[in-house]
Symmetry: C2
Subunit: 150 residues, 2 copies
């Protein structure tokens, strides 16, 4: 089991040469997405397919993820209809951390949100965001993928 | 997508030589199980592992199933803790149909329920159960695997 410990920020100013950083188009859809944080998510990132189970709310959540074969993905994906989103994820190194910038497409075209994942809660608490990041919006439902996909 | 069309019965009288029919011990657990019929189920039947997404209520439900590798199963299975059941499933041929008899173990030890799956709703409606089957309990929550697992 993985404990997902992350914070989410608005982006004040996109890094110069954004597209020079590693990036991937991500399509994700939800088989299940509940208000209490229980979710089963399917994701295609480049040629990688996965299913992720998450449970819990807030900064620390239980997370279990398995890679899927394209065939497994194709069988389950149609059930996510109406609960999908598409975004480009850029990975910006920041010290020993990575700031992931998600630029949303389609109905949320242009929305930009950054996420930072931490090894422990101490790291999450002590993190000093670089000045190009804006407000901390961790837990703000307006920026929850679950809601953006509905 | 598979439409699952089935009826569920009590068993008045077990077939003689029950263990001479094909049978398998089945362990199943729920990642998600909601009152409205939405569920994500993990199952081990013999050496076969699967994940099944079901949606809807009543005799006809949407069902999508993928086989899992043992590794995928092992990653997800711990999240079903507290929502599991174990049963032995016997497959009894009945004309061109199969009556599946589930004999439950552990906290429901001794509970016996039979299920018949049909190709279409007409077949389900016109089915005449053999006299060794008892009351039709389709949709009776007391015999729902989802509730038996909780």
């Amino acid at each position: 089991m993985h404990r997902e410990i992350e914070r989410k920020f608005l982006v004040r100013k996109l890094p110069a040469d954004l597209t020079s950083y590693p990036h991937n188009e991500i399509s994700q859809g939800y088989l299940v997405s509940r208000d209490d944080g229980l979710q089963v998510r399917l994701r295609q990132a480049g040629q990688t397919y996965s299913l992720t189970f998450k449970r819990g709310k807030g900064k620390v959540r239980e997370e279990r993820e398995v890679e899927l074969s394209p065939g497994q993905f194709d069988t389950l994906w149609p059930a996510t209809e109406g609960k999908r989103l598409v975004k480009t994820r850029y990975e910006i190194p920041h010290g020993h951390l990575v700031v992931e910038i998600d630029v949303y497409h389609e109905k949320h075209e242009g929305l930009v949100v950054a996420e930072v994942e931490f090894d422990d809660e101490e790291g999450a608490k002590n993190f000093h965001p670089p000045d190009w990041l804006g407000d901390d919006v961790s837990g703000d439902p307006r920026y929850s993928n679950q809601l953006l996909a509905s």
